[in-house]
Structure formats: structure tokens, C-alpha cells
């Protein structure tokens, strides 16, 4: 039987609640204890105390106490509500929803519980449940626009657009007066309704609504853009053209408006003259406009292109615009344009020289033009489609000679070194560029990135530290985590992979994984916030973005790196598993032990240092101990690296990767590698088939096809007969009777000029026929002599030989060093 409180204690209970609200946790616990002294079994108080304790970070105790509270008072909605809140805090949303639902059954009229439930439901994308909750909430507060909009959103997300619109209309009909023109919430609601109508495909009505209800909308730009779109869709070209020209008068740099205008003017796409004329008109009208001059370069060709490009280049280089190349490089997919642009720049330089001699013109600052032109050419020869690194270096030196203080020029110089494969030099030059402008954040991050590429982790974090918040506990690294600086964490992790510090690498990749979790979690606040602010369109957009969050390349990259680390851990289990060993050249047992010992010593040293650090300055922060973050109990990722089931851990990264980036061939390839090791043949086949569908001739697809066949032949007896049946019938990449050696040789013959594919085929040859290994090794070493081989491919060849412990390593290395004398990776080891 639940206990009942005296008046005094009731007011005390209210104090507890207020203390919780005000985050005065210590006071709250004290007050709760006071009640509990007399009423030790008062469920609500126990529950409140649990809630406060949870806020203090004592999660386990809070859960235990909340359970006690429920035992004391099963029928209290407060207890159930708190129980739900606790689950919610540990992100067990399903249990939280259950608890809320129970609380709501006990107290159907509680708006608070209903609201918490609704928010969780939408977070979990339980649209049906959300509709029910929102309808109930609307009944409670039918006078507020928010409640109606929320229900409309619920229907919208559930895919029922018509019903959503009906709800909005129902609310509008209840209004006595038309809302004022400055009513922002109403303005947004009108635009939201308009988007609902358009999404239903009823453009006619959408336009009508836009022109009546949206006439004086506060979001002028959106109205104009939508109107132009609708008119085009409805085929009212003349009006559409007018709408687009209005938009262009507002913003003449937006490509979409030009496209819209030309479509509306019904200019035929092949009529280049007419298209150009449209742009010319705007170029004349807006002398400072860039887009009108640049965009025609996309579609012009031949002499017309040459003329237009010449004018554009002159204009840009005269002004010394550093981004000229970046503006034009997308044209390089066209080989004519790729040839024309540098020759125009060359002409510019030549003419400039001659004219400069005769009469100093161009407002007297011809130097600007010359250096910009050299800069352009340097970037041209550094670009992957037109690469000639020696020339690039030559031109960048000329540019730097003219402007020795230019950050941009030095930055490009560093990039050229990077493409030469010389990470050390690249890092040095980038650092030099940074020193030219220490207050520029962009160059700062670039310098840090290049340091990471050169595996200077300490220096990089120091560089980053120049721009991080100084007060953050834990230094720059902690701040970079707080600021969710994903690029840094990725580069840092990849650098640790190269250094063989597996634990730290996994630590970084896991951080990125967690950051994505945080982004998922972050939307929670917006379910209520956006409604309150009335920004529904932005909210809907956010919801859709959240649903595809892990499509982001940031995620794919980190996940792929993590998976490859886990795969290597599976294939070559480390002795000590910590940071320090793991690189395959340390394969020697003795060497490995030595490295392990060194790593251990380093770890101990670091620990001592950390302990010493902690001993001193910890005092002042202890005051705010409630706010300090939970201490990381595994700062070096030693626990992550000590895993005994790397393949299971890899699944955490792999599952979202395959779900959200199925068209990424590297994801499918990684998926195969994980599944085949776990003997999940059906899933491995799924990945293989998907990869083959994306690119049948991919080197890894070839490799994996053969390996799948081998694995299947070996393991077919252990497979469930039904699975085996399906695998056999679906695995059509190889004929059942095929001779693998022959198949592989054919592939090799077909792609003998492609280094990467040849490497894959050779790898397979050795796998199929171990006796041939010495010949394989020789052939691998020979791959480097192919004219098209890149530094990356040569590195892969080197890695391959290293993993075979081949005697050809040295030969390959010296050959590569001769071919790429500037690359650090092939330099003889001291």
C-alpha cells in the first residue's frame, strides 16, 4: 500500500521536484531523504530521488532505486514515468516507451507523460504511435496551432499527405481573424502547407495557394523560387521566364536560376549561341558577375570556347584571383578544354611579358597577373588529369618568386610534394605556409593534416591546439572531440594505422562512430523545439537527413578504415594487442617482442605522466565535479585492441555501412571480407554479387570471386543444404566446372597492363598454386615497370611482397625508389 505524506512533507516533495528542475541535485537528495526518513516506502519520493541520482551520474544506483520505488508503489504513474526517463537517459528507447505507456495508462491526463511518449515515438520513427499520441495531445490543447501542426507533421511523415493538409486546413478554419502579416509562425505554416500540396503532385493548386495565401509571405525568396518552379512545371513558360529573371536580378550567381530561365525561354540546348546570349545579357548587366561569364564555358566548345575562356582567364588573372583554377578544373573531363586552358594561360604570360616591356599598363600591377598565371599552371600540372609534377614544381617556384609571402602558393607547393609521395617535405612546406599567416584557420588545419599524413601525431595536435579552446579539460584532443572535428579524428586514426598503433586507431574510428550516434541523438531536442519555433519545413528536412545520416562519406571512410584494421587483427592476431606493434615488417617474433616491450614501457611512462598531471591541477575543477565528463577509462584504445573477436566488432561498423552506402563498392568488398571470415557465405555472396553488379572487372571482385569458390568447395559439407542450394544457383560469376587457374590466367592476360588488376591476379595465382610463389613474386616486382603504375599501386605491391616475406622486397623497393626518387616511402631504410 502506498504511503501518504503529511502536508509538510508534501510541500517538501514539491521542493524535491523543484530542486530537480533547478538542477540543485544535492539539495534535492537531502530533501528527499528527509521525506524518506519518515516515509521510507514512499514510491514517488524514491522515484524522484532516483531521477536526481541519475542526473548526478549514478546510473546504476538510480535504476536500483527506481525499481524499489516501483515495488513500493506499483500504481504510481510518477514511478513509471521516472522509470521511463531513466531508460530514456541510457538510450534504451523501447523500454522507455513501454514505461511511459504504462504511466500513461495510470494517468491518462498527464500532458507531460504524453509529451515524453510522443517525442520518443517520433525519435524511434513509430509514426502510427506518434499519430495516436499527437491526436491525444491535440484533444488536450486544441487551441494551439502547435498541436495541429504537430498532428499534420505526424501524418506527413507517415506518408499521408492529404490527411496532413486536411489537419492544417481544419486549424485555419477555426481562426476568427486572419493572422497578421508579420506572424512568423503563420508564415512558415503557410509555406509548409504549400509544400504539402506540391508534394501531392497537385501543382496547379499549389500555385494557386502560393499566389493567394503566400502572397505576402515573409519568406520572399522561397515564394519566388517555388513560383518559378511551379510555372515551369505547369508549362506557363513566359511567366516562368519572368519569374526566373526576377530571381536572377536578386542573385545573379546562382546556376539553377540560369538553368531555369533557359528552360523557360525554351532555348534549345543545342542552340549554343542563344544560350550564350542569355548569359551575355547578364554579364553586361552585372559587370561584377562571375557566373554569367563562367557558366557558358561548360557548354561551349571549339573556337567559341577558346574566345570565352580567354576573356574569362584574362579577367580573373588580371585581378589575381587565386581560385581561378578551382573554378575551371571541372572542365578537364573534356580533353579539348584540358589542352586549351593551359595554352591560354601560357599565352597570357607571354603577351604579358611583351606588353609589359612596351608599355606598363593594366593599372600598373601586372605582377599580380603573372603570379596568378604561374599559380594556375602549377595547379594544372598538379591536377590528377594533367599531372606533371616536375613542371608543377617549376611553375610554383616561379609564382613564389614573384610573391614570396603567398600562403596559397606555398600550400600548393606542399600539395605537389604530397603527390610526389614525399609526405615529409609536404608537411614541412605546409608548416612553412602556415607560418606565413598564423591567424588563418584554414592553413592551420591544412598544416595539421599534412603532419598527420607524415605521422607526426604530436606535432599535429599541437598545431590544432593553436585554434582550440584553451580552457577545455583534456587539452586540444578533448576539444576536437567536443567540436566533433571528424576530419581530424579520421586522419589521426589513419595515421595510427600506419604507425601500427591499432588501439589508438580504433579509438579514433570509434569516436567517429559515436559522433554519428550523437548526431542521431541530437534530433531529439528538435521534435519539440522546431514545432515551438514553427519552423516546420526545416524540421521535415532535418528528419529526412537524419534518416540517411550514415550515408555521409565521413562515416564510410572511418568505417572502412576500422573494418580493415579489424580484418588485419583477425588475420594476424597480435601478441600483446596494444599499440606499438602490428606492422607486418615486425613479423619476426623477436622484433615483435622488442616492440611490445617498448610499447609497454611507453605506456607506463605515459601513465606515470598522466598520474602526475592529475595529481596537481585537479583541485580547482573538483568543485564542478557534477559537470565534468565521465573519465575515459581507455584513452589509448587498449581495450578495443585487445578484442578477441575482431570480426564481431567490425560488424558494428559494417552494418550501417552496407545499409546506407550499398552503392559503394569498397563497402561491399569490405563486407565480403568480414562475412567470409565469419563463414556467413550467403551474406558474403550478397556482397560479392552487389560489388560485381557495380563493377564486374574490379580487381577485388576478381580476387573475391575465386576465393569464394575455394571457400565454398572446402566448406560445402558444413553448410545447411538449403543455403548451399541457393548459393550454388546464385553464384553465377563462375561456371561450376571452371578451371580456376585458367580463369585467373585469362584475367591476368586481359589486364596485364593494369598494375592493380595484375597484382590481384598474381595474388590469386600464388593462392591457387603455392609452388609458383617465387615466380609470382618476381612478377609482382615487375608490375612496377608498367608505364601506368602509380605510387599507390607500387606501395600496394610492396605491401603484398612484405606480407609474403618475399626476397624480392629490396629489389622492388630500389626499383621504385629509382622511378619515384622523391617519394619517401621507397627510400632506403637507415
Amino acid at each position: 500500500m502506498p504511503q501518504v505524506l503529511s502536508t509538510k512533507e508534501q510541500s517538501l516533495f514539491r521542493t524535491v521536484v523543484r530542486n530537480y528542475e533547478d538542477k540543485q541535485y544535492k539539495k534535492g537528495v537531502k530533501a528527499a531523504d528527509q521525506i524518506l526518513r519518515k516515509n521510507p516506502k514512499h514510491g514517488d519520493t524514491l522515484a524522484m530521488k532516483a531521477l536526481i541520482m541519475n542526473s548526478q551520474g549514478k546510473t546504476d544506483e538510480a535504476f536500483a532505486l527506481a525499481k524499489v520505488a516501483l515495488q513500493c508503489d506499483m500504481k504510481s504513474h510518477v514511478c513509471w514515468h521516472v522509470y521511463g526517463l531513466l531508460y530514456r537517459a541510457v538510450k534504451n528507447f523501447e523500454e522507455a516507451i513501454k514505461a511511459y505507456k504504462f504511466a500513461l495508462r495510470l494517468e491518462p491526463d498527464s500532458a507531460q507523460i504524453q509529451r515524453d511518449l510522443a517525442l520518443l515515438q517520433i525519435q524511434m520513427r513509430d509514426y502510427q504511435g506518434y499519430i495516436v499520441s499527437r491526436r491525444a495531445m491535440l484533444t488536450g490543447r486544441s487551441g494551439m496551432r502547435q498541436s495541429w501542426t504537430a498532428l499534420a507533421v505526424a501524418h506527413h511523415l507517415n506518408g499521408d499527405l492529404a490527411e496532413a493538409e486536411r489537419v492544417l486546413t481544419a486549424y485555419e478554419d477555426t481562426l476568427k481573424n486572419t493572422p497578421s502579416k508579420t506572424d512568423f509562425e503563420n508564415s512558415e505554416a503557410v509555406m509548409y502547407k504549400n509544400s504539402l500540396i506540391a508534394e501531392q503532385g497537385d501543382i496547379e493548386r499549389a500555385l494557386e495557394h502560393l499566389e493567394s495565401a503566400g502572397k505576402h509571405n515573409l519568406d520572399r525568396l522561397a515564394v519566388l523560387e517555388l513560383r518559378a518552379t511551379y510555372l515551369t512545371q505547369l508549362g506557363r513558360k513566359e511567366e516562368a521566364a519572368k519569374a526566373y529573371s526576377t530571381l536572377l536580378d536578386r542573385n545573379s550567381e546562382y546556376k539553377k536560376y540560369y538553368d531555369g530561365l533557359i528552360e523557360a525561354m525554351e532555348v534549345h540546348l543545342d542552340d549554343l549561341k542563344a544560350r550564350k546570349a542569355v548569359y551575355d545579357g547578364y554579364a553586361e548587366k552585372y559587370p561584377r558577375c562571375d557566373a554569367a561569364r563562367r557558366l557558358p564555358l561548360d557548354f561551349l566548345h571549339g573556337d567559341e570556347f577558346r574566345d570565352a575562356a580567354d576573356k574569362y582567364i584574362h579577367r580573373m588573372l588580371d585581378k589575381g584571383v587565386p581560385s581561378t583554377f578551382a573554378n575551371l578544373k571541372h572542365l578537364y573531363s573534356d580533353s579539348f578544354k584540358k589542352e586549351t586552358l593551359p595554352s591560354l594561360v601560357q599565352q597570357y604570360i607571354d603577351s604579358d611579358k611583351s606588353s609589359a616591356n612596351e608599355e606598363p599598363k593594366r593599372n600598373g600591377d601586372t605582377s599580380k597577373g603573372a603570379s596568378a598565371a604561374f599559380y594556375f599552371l602549377a595547379q594544372h600540372y598538379n591536377y590528377y588529369l594533367s599531372r606533371d609534377l616536375d613542371k608543377a614544381m617549376e611553375y610554383i617556384e616561379k609564382a613564389i618568386e614573384l610573391e614570396p609571402e603567398s600562403v596559397d602558393f606555398h600550400m600548393t607547393k606542399a600539395r605537389i610534394w604530397k603527390h610526389n609521395g614525399n609526405t615529409q617535405k609536404a608537411s614541412e612546406i605546409m608548416e612553412q605556409a602556415r607560418s606565413l599567416d598564423t591567424r588563418d584557420r584554414h592553413i592551420n588545419t591544412k598544416a595539421a593534416k599534412y603532419q598527420l599524413r607524415n605521422d607526426e601525431s604530436e606535432a599535429a595536435i599541437k598545431t590544432m591546439g593553436l585554434f582550440t579552446r584553451a580552457e577545455t579539460v583534456g587539452g586540444p584532443l578533448a576539444d576536437l572531440h567536443d567540436m566533433q572535428c571528424v576530419w581530424f579524428l579520421t586522419e589521426d586514426g589513419e595515421s595510427y594505422v600506419r604507425q601500427g598503433k591499432i588501439g589508438l586507431a580504433l579509438k579514433r574510428f570509434t569516436s567517429i562512430y559515436n559522433i554519428f550516434d550523437v548526431w542521431q541523438e541530437d534530433q531529439f531536442d528538435f521534435h519539440s523545439f522546431s514545432l515551438r519555433k514553427g519552423q516546420i519545413r526545416a524540421y521535415i528536412e532535418m528528419m529526412r537527413w537524419e534518416d540517411h545520416l550514415r550515408e555521409h562519406p565521413f562515416y564510410s571512410r572511418a568505417a572502412l578504415s576500422a573494418i580493415s584494421v579489424y580484418i588485419r587483427m583477425h588475420d594476424v592476431p597480435l601478441l600483446n594487442g596494444a599499440n606499438g606493434v602490428g606492422h607486418s615488417d615486425a613479423d619476426d617474433a623477436a622484433e615483435r617482442k622488442k616492440a611490445a616491450k617498448k610499447a609497454r614501457k611507453e605506456a607506463q611512462k605515459a601513465e606515470r605522466e598522466a598520474a602526475a598531471k592529475k595529481a596537481e591541477p585537479n583541485k580547482p575543477t573538483s568543485q564542478g565535479s557534477e559537470d565534468t565528463k565521465k573519465k575515459d577509462d581507455d584513452p589509448d584504445g587498449a581495450k578495443l585492441a585487445a578484442t578477441t573477436e575482431p570480426m564481431n566488432d567490425a560488424m558494428k561498423f559494417l552494418t550501417p555501412l552496407l545499409q546506407f552506402s550499398p552503392k559503394n563498392i569498397d563497402a561491399q568488398i569490405a563486407g565480403f571480407e568480414v562475412y567470409i571470415r565469419r563463414r556467413k557465405y550467403l551474406l558474403a555472396l550478397k556482397c560479392l554479387l552487389a560489388a560485381a553488379a557495380l563493377d564486374k572487372e574490379h580487381s577485388k571482385v576478381h580476387e573475391q570471386t575465386v576465393r569464394f569458390k575455394l571457400a565454398l568447395d572446402k566448406d560445402s559439407e558444413t553448410l545447411p543444404p538449403k543455403s548451399l542450394e541457393v548459393i550454388k544457383s546464385e553464384f553465377t560469376l563462375l561456371a561450376a566446372s571452371v578451371d580456376l587457374t585458367k580463369f585467373n590466367d585469362e584475367y591476368l592476360a586481359k589486364y596485364k597492363d593494369c598494375a592493380r588488376r595484375a597484382l590481384s591476379a598474381l595474388k590469386i595465382r600464388k593462392l591457387l598454386n603455392p609452388e609458383s610463389s617465387s615466380k609470382c613474386e618476381k612478377d609482382v616486382a615487375a608490375v612496377i615497370s608498367l608505364p601506368t603504375t602509380t605510387v599507390e599501386e607500387a606501395t600496394e605491391a610492396l605491401d603484398l611482397l612484405t606480407s609474403w616475406k618475399s626476397s624480392e622486397i629490396e629489389g622492388l623497393r630500389s626499383k621504385a625508389a629509382a622511378k619515384w626518387p622523391k617519394a619517401t616511402i621507397f627510400a632506403a631504410k637507415a
Binding site: 502506498p2 504511503q3 501518504v4 503529511s6 512533507e9 508534501q10 516533495f13 514539491r14 521536484v17 523543484r18 530537480y20 528542475e21 519518515k38 516515509n39 516506502k41 514517488d44 504510481s76 504513474h77 510518477v78 514515468h81 494517468e107 491526463d109 498527464s110 499519430i131 491526436r135 491535440l138 484533444t139 490543447r141 486544441s142 487551441g143 494551439m144 496551432r145 490527411e163 486536411r166 489537419v167 481544419a170 486549424y171 478554419d173 477555426t174 481562426l175 476568427k176 493572422p179 515551438r532 550499398p662 556467413k680 557465405y681 550467403l682 551474406l683 555472396l685 550478397k686 554479387l689 552487389a690 560485381a692 545447411p720 538449403k722 543455403s723 542450394e725 541457393v726 544457383s729 546464385e730
Partner: protein, 132 residues
């Protein structure tokens, strides 16, 4: 914060730590207190809610909405259930196979099987086929 305590409740509850014979009114009143207190945990200021709203119209709108919405909801739900539940028999052994081989949850595996008329091989085949 919450309203002042109604006088009649005060009398009933002052007896303190006796945990039996609780007047029902007091109990629920106390509960309501707590609810009120809790509901202010994260209270937003609901501005001048709906002074511009015609309450009568709201009521009507609600009725219309409730009626249409409710029936709609029920109908669609029933339809869906009918479609799904079209009595497809699923062999638990097949479900286990899918769970094991494809690492699906039990629910998803069952759905997958049902979507392919309970034919395991068909389900497997469809699952591993590359998306078009």
C-alpha cells in the same frame, strides 16, 4: 507552481507514516499534485495560447477530425493486417535458418519468409540479389 492544497485533503493526510487506511481522495489528490509538479519539470511558456481561436470552431474541427481520422486509421490498419496475415504458414526451422544465415532478427526473418510465401529458397535468393 502547483495550486494550493485543497483544505479537505490536508486534514486527511496529516497522520504521517501510517501506511494503511488511506482515504482514496487524498491519494489521488496527492498523485495529481505530483503529476502537476512533474508536468512542470520542463514547462514551456505556452504564450497566449489561442486567444485568436474560435473555441466553437475548434470543437467542431476536432469532431470532424476525430471522426474521419479514427475511422480512417482503423480501416487502414485492418486492411494491412489482413494482407499480412493471409495465413502464410512459416516453418520455424526456416526462420532459424534465416536468422542464422542472414543475421536477421526473428521478426524480420519471419516477414521475409512471409513475403515469399514461406519459401526459404526464394526468400534467400531475393535477399542476396543485388539491388537494381
Amino acid at each position: 507552481m502547483a495550486d494550493p492544497q485543497p483544505p479537505n485533503v490536508v486534514e486527511g493526510a496529516t497522520t504521517g507514516d501510517i501506511d494503511e487506511e488511506v482515504p482514496i481522495a487524498a491519494k489521488s489528490a496527492e498523485d495529481r499534485k505530483a503529476a502537476a509538479a512533474l508536468s512542470t519539470l520542463d514547462n514551456r511558456d505556452d504564450e497566449s495560447s489561442g486567444k485568436d481561436v474560435d473555441q466553437e470552431a475548434v470543437r467542431k474541427a476536432m469532431e470532424r477530425l476525430g471522426g474521419a481520422g479514427a475511422t480512417n486509421g482503423v480501416v487502414t490498419k485492418k486492411d494491412e493486417q489482413k494482407v499480412v496475415k493471409k495465413a502464410i504458414k512459416v516453418d520455424p526451422a526456416d526462420v532459424t535458418l534465416l536468422v542464422e544465415e542472414l543475421e536477421l532478427t526473428k521478426i524480420k526473418a519471419t516477414d521475409l519468409l512471409k513475403a515469399h510465401e514461406g519459401d526459404v529458397e526464394k526468400a534467400l535468393r531475393a535477399y542476396i540479389a543485388p539491388a537494381a
